[in-house]
Symmetry: C2
Subunit: 222 residues, 2 copies
């Protein structure tokens, strides 16, 4: 498998080069770029829908929605009021890569954008290896997935800056222990910021919005 | 990326060759081999725990538990009464492959085994491309993941023979529509056998057990 590993390394170093270019370009424009990663069904699209509805009047948000085969997520985000929404259909690939993002960014007018959300493919493994030029990765977990996930998929939790625990309305209905998941996550990454919320019941969202406001302001140097 | 695609094709064709060998070996011994695939947290390990407890006295079950970094799942299955349990830690890889299975099978005494369960890495994308020599793939989805998953990850649902819908005890607590998920899954794969159950509340499990009994008997030619 040595040849495969060599090719994989080349792919990753080319990816890192493109990601650095994206990071430079977004930084020049003082855009906060967040790469949202999670298992399928943890609620990335739902969180972005709520965020669009809540913050559309105060922040300019651009969204890139990655999907394996459909444009379902991008369609949902447009319906939720997204003004700048672009789908990326990976055609079977299990993650977004920097080249895909570069292609989309070329078409976008970034001058007025405050935040760029990149919704990655639902997958807790592969997207952790591909830098997309984001400022931070935000990893979502839902309360129905099992509190051992940070230990089982450590790379993703190690490389993320924020952990959003979604579906807190379902706490108590399974054996998911929210303190345990936080302990497990902090064993992997002591600096992880943790935000607990329920998109469905709209609880805890204000903490997320406030964090977005602060990070956007910091990026703008205000 | 052409070189990458060429290497990937070689890897897959070598995988197919090894998978065919595994299939032949397991078929000679009349072992039913099931490859369990799903998102992280859909309940593959929980379903296997229940199955071990319920059927341990009537069927000889061997289990291979694939995980990215830990042996947590294998440990759970041993505790649940698994007599033949082997972990595979992929070391970061996002799926099991036939070579990993070949390595484990060499160490196992398969003479008395009726069913071999292979619990794949939690990932709805990559494991769909890697034949492990199984008779069938069983794909799990939980009722909290969103009913559009079959459309978004069609390859996995197309290549599976059985769809287990887990966590039916949480139906009605989100906007997940079980009829919709079944319709979506059957649009992708009209022949999919659907089994609805809740591991936590232990409902619907008898249908799964009965299906296992029937398939095992068919495999033995009884």
């Amino acid at each position: 498998m040595n040849k495969r590993i060599t090719v994989e390394k080349k792919v990753l170093s080319e990816n890192d080069r493109l990601a650095a270019e994206i990071r430079r370009k977004l930084s020049e424009k003082r855009i906060l770029a967040l790469n949202l990663v999670s298992s399928p069904g943890s609620g990335k699209t739902s969180l972005l829908e709520k965020t669009l509805k809540a913050l559309n009047s105060e922040l300019n948000m651009a969204l890139i929605a990655g999907d394996v085969q459909t444009e379902n997520d991008a369609d949902r985000l447009k319906k939720a009021g997204g003004k700048i929404v672009r789908p990326i259909v990976t055609g079977g690939a299990c993650h977004l890569d920097a080249k895909m993002i570069t292609g989309v960014l070329e078409e976008l007018d970034l001058d007025e954008v405050d935040i760029l959300f990149i919704e990655n493919v639902g997958n807790l493994v592969c997207p952790s290896s591909y830098d997309l030029g984001e400022d931070m990765k935000v990893v979502l977990i839902s309360t129905t997935e099992g509190d051992d996930k940070p230990l089982k998929y450590p790379s993703m939790f190690r490389r993320s800056s924020v952990l959003v625990i979604n579906k807190t309305d379902l706490l108590g209905l399974s054996d998911f222990d929210i303190e345990q998941v936080k302990n497990n996550a902090r064993m992997i990454n002591a600096d992880l910021i943790v935000i607990e919320l329920s998109c469905l019941k709209e609880t805890g969202l204000e903490t997320w919005y406030e964090w977005l406001r602060e990070r956007t302001a910091a990026k703008k140097g205000r």
